[in-house]
Amino acid sequence: MFDSHLTRRNFMKTSASVAATLAASQMGPFARPAHAARDKELNILCWEGYNSAQVLDPFRSSKSANVKAESLTNDPTMINRLRAGEINVWDLINVNNPWARKVMMPEKLIKPLDRAKFEPYFEKMLPQFKPPYKWAMDDSGKELLGMAQRFGPYSFVVNTDKISRKTAEDQGWDLFNDPKLAGRFGILESDDWNVFGICAIAGFDPYKPHSPEEVAKFEETAKRVLKNKKVVGDIATMNQALISGEIDCHLTGGSYSVSPARADGHLNLRAITPNKGPFAGGKGGIAWIEITSVVNNPQGSPLAETFLEYVQDPVVAHTVAFAEGTFNPVAQMGNPECFKLFSKEQLDAIQWDSLDEEMARSVEYDIVPDYDKLLDIWNAAKKS
């Protein structure tokens, strides 16, 4: 009984032994076996879409599994969560192309996939994903680090009733240098992408080290663009502002952001990839490709790889492409069984008509060497 015989000394002793027992149960022979306890659960850290019931429910019921998915809207935060210890929580991570091979694998946050089992899926994807697909492989080209699925160009979006597609493509990023556009454009709150966009508006490639002159130009451009903007907001705000006429275009955007509005019949809103720009090879736009990898979780769920195979199925891949919130092309459209599931309206929503040429005019999303410095400048500029 917990009675008056308890002194501070024996209270401390009791507490210490309880703590020691608890600790031992986590580490010692009482620790739960790696897989036995988790073969019916799966935790996914992803961009929105993979967390939708349309995608997850059939998997949940077919495997009788408890699947939890959390969606975030920027890669650095997701990587951060793993770095901060959540490597023990998540089984799958879905982020943009460079992070798996350039950051997560070197930091051992993810583990390679069975190449023999998963590489054949790449054979059925669109031609640009044929194996060995660069962003799915490690630097040595030997390890397969993840699976590709959703992708798309992501530069900016215009209302073609106000700014024609040709003008936007020809003028490119310079559009945002035009004083006449002041008060008529928005900025999507996607700050990692905005850093890329401001570099492009300032006239240089974001994905290379920058000189002090370029950094100064970045600061001047960031302040000017932020001063001239009408609104900064999320995807829904941008689409709403475009439809209502509050803004004529917005910085950072593409099929990922504008497709829900296009699917709702607003085909005058269009993702633009400039004809030329300051990127490598004079390319005008930026494109992203998601790579989904298995987290290096010491108690990882065996369902992680099962899920990666599940989303390769043509029907599921189509569901992923049109999961709630954002509609996107998927690499699995290379498989005729998958492609035939897309209606004309759905192809229109994701701008299938110009997808190939826009991807060809885009460089692939990469990591900015001096991102921290440029992001700090961008964030300070928001307050000036």
Partner: protein
């Protein structure tokens, strides 16, 4: 009772152990972690680096004060506006509206069930170009409404709207606490209606006003959604700065330092007010 061994001899203290442990783990430990992180070198993710004051130096050397001033300024304005708006409404609920009071109270309460973000997006649709208000004004009167959405005024509007119940209900209780006999006695002794209000009702309902103001201020200084949704990020409150540091910037130590700074500023302000207006004294140590 004396000596070390007697501390836990009281059953009350022993019974408090579970809740104390819960509070230590659930409240004090995360707070200490935040304070600890604020002294870590920028852009690190562990608590075991050599402590540094770099984050605080940066806060005072760059333009972070702008965000802090926006947050404090908007929260103060919200409190003042809500005090002016809510006092007559609370007075009406207690003294004037009679049996309609319950229905009106419900009308003020029901929106709280709906998520704040959804309510704010509702206001976006109300104020957006061609939306409910500008569209109606144009269709009926041919009047073009000027820009309101995505301005600091829209942020203030949103904050006043969201925090209204938090001022209204403490104030209603405060006014209800004023005994009717006091008012009647004042009237019997020849006080005018204005004198009754100024010398009896207002001072006696001060606890409600004070509690409402403190509650609203503390909540409003932590507001973020109003500036994001209605303000279109035209202004960046300190809470948004903290969010950016913890997310895109991957700079937890800076975010932690900003959070500590905000906690300190708000605590000092609240404690100063509480020192000046002793709630125990106002409430008569009930």
């Amino acid at each position: 009772m004396s000596g070390d061994s007697s501390f836990l001899a009281q059953p009350g203290r022993r019974a408090a152990i579970p809740i104390m442990v819960l509070l230590l783990l659930g409240f004090v430990a995360p707070l200490l972690a935040v304070v600890g992180f604020s002294f870590m070198p920028p852009r690190t993710f562990g608590l075991w680096h050599e402590p540094s004051l770099e984050n605080y130096e940066r806060i005072f050397s760059d333009n972070t004060y702008v965000s802090l001033l926006w947050s404090l300024g908007l929260a103060s304005l919200t409190v003042v506006l809500l005090a002016l708006i809510c006092y007559p409404v609370a007075y009406g609920l207690v003294r004037v509206f009679g049996r309609w009071s319950t229905a009106l109270t419900l009308l003020f309460t029901i929106p709280l069930i709906v998520s704040e973000n959804i309510r704010l997006y509702g206001w976006v649709l109300f104020f957006i170009k061609g939306g409910v208000l500008p569209g109606t004004l144009k269709a009926l009167f041919g009047v073009e409404m000027g820009d309101f959405l995505f301005t600091p005024a829209a942020v203030l509007f949103g904050m006043v709207y969201v925090y209204l119940p938090f001022m209204l209900f403490p104030m209603t209780l405060g006014i209800a606490m004023v005994p009717n006999q006091m008012r009647e006695a004042a009237r019997d002794l020849g006080a005018s209606r204005w004198q009754v209000f100024r010398e009896v009702e207002l001072p006696l309902s001060t606890p409600g006003l004070m509690i409402g103001s403190l509650l609203t201020f503390v909540l409003a200084v932590g507001a973020i959604a109003e500036a994001k949704v209605l303000g279109g990020q035209r202004i960046i409150p300190i809470t948004h700065d903290i969010e950016i540091a913890f997310t895109y910037a991957q700079n937890w130590p800076l975010g932690a330092a900003l959070a500590v700074l905000l906690m300190l500023v708000v605590s000092v302000l609240v404690l100063t007010v509480l020192k000046r207006f002793d709630l125990d004294q106002i409430l008569g140590k009930r």
